[in-house]
Symmetry: C2
Subunit: 342 residues, 2 copies
Amino acid sequence: MKERITLKHIAKEFNVSIATVSRALKNSYEIGEATREKIQEYAKHHNYKPNSIALSLLNKKTKTIGVVMPTILNHFFVKIFNGIEQVANEKGYNLITIISNGKLEKEIASLDMLENGFIDGLLISLSEETQSKQHFKHIEGFINNAGPVVMFDRVSDSVETDKIIVDDFNCAYKTTEHLIKTGCKRIAIVSVLDNLGIIKLRIEGYKKALEDYNIPINEKIITLIKKDYDFETEIKTMLDYQKIDAIIGLEEFSTAESMLIAKKRGYKIPEDISVIGFTSSELFRYTNPSITCISQHGVYMGKNAAEKLIERIEQKDIDKSTFETKVIKTSLLERESTRPLD
Amino acid sequence: MKERITLKHIAKEFNVSIATVSRALKNSYEIGEATREKIQEYAKHHNYKPNSIALSLLNKKTKTIGVVMPTILNHFFVKIFNGIEQVANEKGYNLITIISNGKLEKEIASLDMLENGFIDGLLISLSEETQSKQHFKHIEGFINNAGPVVMFDRVSDSVETDKIIVDDFNCAYKTTEHLIKTGCKRIAIVSVLDNLGIIKLRIEGYKKALEDYNIPINEKIITLIKKDYDFETEIKTMLDYQKIDAIIGLEEFSTAESMLIAKKRGYKIPEDISVIGFTSSELFRYTNPSITCISQHGVYMGKNAAEKLIERIEQKDIDKSTFETKVIKTSLLERESTRPLD
DNA sequence: CTGAAAGCGCTTACAG
DNA sequence: CTGAAAGCGCTTACAG
């Protein structure tokens, strides 16, 4: 690696000041044409690139956005990331990506590190632990000290900022309603996530739908499986001791895995048990039967989040009263794991 | 957002020089204990964080790595990214991630942008177009002007640098051999990727295995499907006009989709046709039958790539003669889509 | 024990 | 048309 060429080098080469070089390269009309041309040519030939760190220090803008996500091993988040990347790229922003891995500690450490001027703004989806412990000081700290924040999907009501979410309550309501209309009455919920705001909302929506259709709620078939519990055992127990004619899986794993276990237990899908996944996943297209699911439009969510953040970054003053929560509509993608409506 | 607090502010507060503040915060033994303590306390209380942009300018190190990948909608790359993230995080490096989306142009633009001092080094997996056009000037330019580069998975022989790859030739050889040993003779290859070094190597390994077992090579069942061609039509044509008893899919999509089409055409898997996917994918666990595949150990590859790059970054001088290409072993994960060995 | 100065690489208002 | 100077926020060798 050669030493990087700077204005200083060029200035020395032509025996002019670095100010002149700077202006010549910016095509300033102030500089004589001859000087301008020879400097530009030299710079081009030697592949001069203005040092962006120096520019960042000067402008107090890095044109870089932080993205903190709980995981990337989840197709929904991959899609969101894709959306973010598209918009960021388009608008000339770089992305610094951090996976919190569900850990509050890492989230805090990351924000702490990012609070030092390296990014212009932050996109964040909270880790499980952050939500269960309801610890948001690091987010608020960032907003106060470092720059605008847009939260997406896994958000918190208690943090005042812009948010992009899915309407989990309504979505769960409609999903449950759909199952009821196809004749299901004993609808189970399965999830390996817990303590997440979105999970609570989904369960509320589900319960409301059951109520509205006068179906009793059976807490024993709302199976939230903690990390240290064995998934297969829990599902088998539920299938063996409870009567069930539908399963709503709240993420990819729970959905696909529950269906697999049910099939092994001899249940026909969807004749005996209907299955719906509460997330879009490529995987669901290829299972047998293919799985009906809620499409959450991850790319669209990512794009919206990035657009909102960049808008805030480029805004002079941020009026807290203009903070908004955008709700992204979901859609039901019917496949073979649920019965047709009529 | 409050104005960020700087050494200047603190210095003014205590009527000392910024040098003193800087030293006090670094716990320099030179500074009187009283001064040190009151400055530290004040800084802590006001949440002072040294501006990392200023430090980067000073140290000519940003503790940031660039990651350029062709796609993220591919589980293999997601896993690699996870591995990279783990190591980077551990060693205190940030990641700037760019998805080239298979486009040479974007790859060039990205490197151009990253060449200006924002990153200490680069991890890159080439885009399809880059490989088909054999255009590597931007990579070489980066190595010469900006910093060390480690290439992973989709690499080029003509670029001199460290590389982490899968042994595609051998792996394809052994995969083909495995199919032959389970009684398959008419082994098809299906891929939607083309012009990729790794694809060529895999096909060579496959052909070598056929040769070694005295099985004639039938080019008509090596189906590389171009972007604008209809996948389903191509596969159906192959199934209808050629005799086939095994399919090796070179990526997730081709594998899962081919099996689906074959099943629809009435073939029993693996009795009539065996299927192997040349990539690890969560999806393959849930299809019916589940799909035997090559596990490429993406996380491990990502970790290795990141470790190598950081080693290079933290090295004073890089001796080109020490560039190495590390080959990651793959393993065959047998599932239901292939027949057992005996 | 503390400060003034130089410097990282750049831009730009101010002089001339 | 061109340059010297100040400044972005920091560190550190050099003086005292």
